[in-house]
């Protein structure tokens, strides 16, 4: 096993790639009782057009299928009940799907070895029937409706949808009621067989474990599997223009105060002098220092009652673009948009602000090192986004500098934006 330490922290990552291609990351932490294990495939809602394994034609599957598959994997042929298995062992069990990956997980202090063995087994044994697929549709329909009544979910979905033309990041992970109704058990097998090969998957275990024993268990389990050799998955590539696909949209929901977002689409391949992996972080710093809780901008807008509390921002990243979303709750959404645009033409950062923010970011890493779930999430995110884990996070943060910031600032085009507003009912004049 390869062993590497995260700098300045008591976190050591053990790594091995098994013969069948499965990557294993283990982080022992012996002053905690819990163990947190995640088993993931690099398959999320972004991978919707691909050539299925052992075929040669590109297909498009219904939106929301990666998430649907996640639900259905809990269905087992021998009727062994996944929920029951973990409940009997006092262990929390869950799964989730995002744009880039699907993760199956458990967490708890006891029965670790049985739990791990079972996690691997059930994820590796799909069993879909027409009845189970039909049953799932009603459940997911309710999940969709729950999100559709939530104003901030609609705001985030809406702004990303309108920012992109072709890239599938534009679609909600969960799909929509029409798309999930079209899903068949054959579709599920096609996706499963293509994306759930060990060479496309990885396991991360953090907490009170012995790394050698854990690896041995995983190895023994994986060696028993009889699998075809992995062939690279052919995914569709998307021609994504730099422009946004729709400039503005307003909807109405049963709420009291409007929610508003404006997003700027930035082509990161134009920023040559800055490491590609750091561009989104730089943008996040630039925007949060200009609009976040330490900014004079937010202080002024709150005093003028344009916003109710704070302004938040976050990046949405594809291979080519970063979409910087700035959003808030505002009784004067149009005024808010006008002022943000004006501020974006004038973005700036003082060196002392950058240094203070760096100090705070390094401190956040120390906080996170106390949490086995934070460590686990950090590893998962980096593996999926960059194919490796960064252990020199302190050095990376220390290297952030004003020259890079200037480079990133140059790539922001204030006019390349899209606006989304969620209004109270009957607010839009018809």
């Amino acid at each position: 096993m390869k062993k590497s330490s995260v700098n300045n922290l008591d976190v050591t990552i053990f790594y091995e790639k098994l013969a069948n291609g499965l990557e294993v990351f283990l982080v022992p932490k012996n002053n905690v009782n819990n163990i947190f294990a995640t088993y993931s495939t690099k398959y999320g809602s972004n991978q919707n057009d691909f050539v299925p394994i052992n075929q040669n034609k590109m297909i498009t599957v219904p939106l929301g299928i990666a998430h649907f598959l996640e639900h259905q994997l809990f269905n087992q042929e021998d009727e062994s009940d996944v929920m029951k298995f973990f409940s009997e062992r006092g262990t929390d069990v869950n799964a989730n799907t995002n744009k880039l990956k699907t993760t199956y997980l458990f967490g708890g202090p006891d029965f670790f070895e049985e739990n791990l063995e079972f996690l691997l087994s059930y994820v590796e044994s799909p069993y879909f029937t027409e009845a189970s697929v039909e049953k799932e549709k009603g459940i997911i329909e309710q999940e969709i409706k729950m999100y559709r009544d939530r104003p901030f979910s609609r705001l985030h979905e809406g702004i990303v949808y309108n920012a992109f033309h072709n890239h599938p990041i534009k679609y909600p992970i969960i799909g929509n009621v029409e798309s999930i109704r079209k899903i068949t058990k054959e579709d599920l097998y096609t996706c499963y067989n293509t994306f759930y090969h060990p060479a496309n998957m990885f396991l991360v275990v953090t907490g009170n474990i012995d790394p050698d024993k854990t690896l041995e268990l995983v190895k023994q389990h994986e060696e028993k599997r009889n699998l075809n050799k992995f062939k690279n998955i052919k995914l569709k590539t998307y021609e994504e223009p730099d422009s946004v696909s729709k400039k503005e949209e307003e909807i109405e929901l049963n709420i009291t105060i409007p929610k508003v977002a404006i997003a700027f689409k930035i082509n990161k391949t134009n920023i040559k002098k800055v490491a590609k992996t750091e561009i989104a972080t730089y943008l996040q710093m630039i925007f949060s220092l200009n609009f976040g809780s330490t900014s004079e901008f937010a202080e002024r807008l709150k005093a003028e009652e344009i916003i109710t509390s704070g302004i938040d921002c976050y990046p949405v990243e594809t291979d080519k673009h970063v979409l910087m979303v700035v959003y808030t709750e505002s009784k004067q959404p149009n005024e808010f948009i006008k002022l943000v645009k004006r501020q974006v033409t004038n973005l700036n950062i003082a060196k002392e602000d950058l240094e203070r923010r760096k100090k705070s970011m390094i401190a956040s890493g120390i906080y996170a090192s106390d949490s086995i779930s934070s460590i686990n999430h950090k590893i998962m995110n980096e593996v999926v986004k960059y194919g490796k884990v960064f252990t020199d996070y302190v050095d990376i943060i220390k290297s952030y500098n004003m020259d890079d910031i200037k480079e990133v600032l140059k790539a922001i085009d204030v006019n390349n934006n899209t606006v989304y507003i969620v209004n109270p009912l009957n607010r839009i004049e018809k």
Partner: protein, 421 residues
């Protein structure tokens, strides 16, 4: 882990020393008998104290300083605990071992200033800070009903247990807010320091003497406070069948709540039996409600039950299609009946116990969870870890059935979504 409690006439100080965490966490709780008309003052206090203080006169300056202090985290809120209303102020910061010498004292000073060094001029809160705090609360009151879950719960409790603290309108009302001024809010602030029961909980690798002396210096007020009345609320009247209330809103999903009243539970039932009951009925993805309503009948994505042990209430909640309401109600009623008829297995009880024990073990990993244990010891006289481990194993099936028989149907609230997808 070493626990020390120092009782003073003005406050209790609870010190939990452990080297397990890189952080030090502090929670200060203020409590007094809940009164609906004071809610708005208490919420205003939280907003105004967290918005600015004498040293840092805006939330922007506070946030900047929090980054300088290695990203110290801070927050506050209010909550109901039966007969009492509680304010809590929280912080968590890196132990100076991981930053630089002297930071523990600086971080504690920063946190205590929220409470003890407010932005005051001429015996009144600063006008600007007051306006910001009031704007925020106005918006919170106005948008309280936006969340279908929160709105439905409010309406359910208002119907089930009117005029009790559980049914109070979360943040107070706009009419009451209009009566609050910078001057009378400052009077109220002084009143809580004098009259609220105050508990300070600290956990981390701390120097007990350092904490004691900092707090001693901060607490200048030394009023003798009346000690504890009980937190627990009791029900006296019970229905034999559900009273049903239906409202319509323009939403895609409908919210279904079934509210039950419980006959007075014993301490043992509150602490342990209710956990087992709740776990088997609707507390896990392997529970009766989850399996029946979601997995077998495909009616919902979420369904669960919660027992409010302090107020002897139980609520089962789910998100469904409006057309499925009657079917869902029938299925839920069936499962609840099964519990009182004892139609559940020894295996299910064991499973609930195993889960309870695992969660006790697990909570030792989180400073906040350990603090909560000591808070429930102080407020409700609940057991600490060792006693909990012993007691949970004593529960029998008979205990669970006896508790089930104390549960009476009361009110069903349906918030019907009228929007077509």
């Amino acid at each position: 882990m070493k626990y020390e409690k120092i009782s003073n006439i003005a406050y209790n100080l609870h010190l939990i020393k452990t080297d397990k965490f890189k952080t030090i966490s502090v929670k200060i709780m203020f409590k007094r008998k809940a009164s609906e008309s004071e809610l708005v003052y208490r919420n205003m206090l939280i907003n105004i104290l967290m918005e600015a203080n004498h040293k840092y006169q805006s939330s922007r300056l506070l946030e900047i300083e929090s980054e300088n202090l290695y990203n110290i985290r801070y927050g506050a809120g209010s909550s109901n605990s039966g007969n009492y209303d509680c304010l809590h102020f929280d912080t968590s910061f890196l132990n100076e071992k991981y930053t630089e010498a002297g930071m523990n004292a600086k971080s504690l000073e920063f946190f205590f200033n929220f409470i003890f060094d407010p932005n005051i001029t001429n015996q009144a809160f600063n006008e600007e800070t007051f306006t910001l705090a009031k704007n925020l609360l106005t918006d919170d009151i106005k948008s309280f009903d936006d969340s279908p879950a929160r709105y439905s719960r409010k309406k359910l409790f208002q119907s089930m247990v009117p005029k009790t603290p559980v049914s109070y309108n979360g943040y107070g009302t706009l009419e009451e807010l209009d009566k609050v001024t910078p001057t009378n809010l400052y009077e109220y602030y002084q009143d809580i320091l004098k009259r609220d029961l105050i508990d300070i909980f600290v956990i981390g690798d701390i120097d007990n003497n350092q904490i004691k002396s900092i707090i001693k210096e901060k607490f200048k007020i030394n009023t003798i406070k009346k000690t504890n009345g009980s937190h627990f609320l009791e029900n006296k009247k019970f229905k034999s069948r559900f009273h049903k209330i239906k409202e319509t809103k323009e939403l895609e999903q409908s919210t279904l709540l079934l509210g039950y009243k419980l006959e007075p539970l014993t301490k043992f039932e509150k602490m342990y039996v209710s956990y087992i009951y709740s776990y088997i009925l609707g507390g896990s993805p392997d529970s009766k409600l989850f399996k029946e309503v979601r997995e077998k009948n495909s009616l919902c994505y979420s369904i669960s039950d919660s027992i409010y042990a302090v107020s002897d209430l139980m609520v089962i909640s789910s998100g469904i299609n409006a057309d499925d309401a009657n079917k869902a109600i029938r299925l839920v009623k069936e499962q609840v009946k099964k519990m009182s008829r004892g139609e559940f297995s020894e295996e299910e009880i064991t499973q609930a116990k195993v889960t309870y024990l695992a969660s006790l073990k697990g909570l030792e990993d989180y400073p906040g969870s350990i603090l909560n244990l000591y808070i429930s010891k102080e407020y409700l006289d609940y057991d600490l870890l060792e006693d909990r481990i012993k007691s949970i194993n004593k529960i029998t099936k008979e205990d669970v059935v006896n508790l089930a028989k104390k549960i009476h149907p009361d009110t069903i609230f349906i918030l019907e979504g009228s929007k077509k997808a």
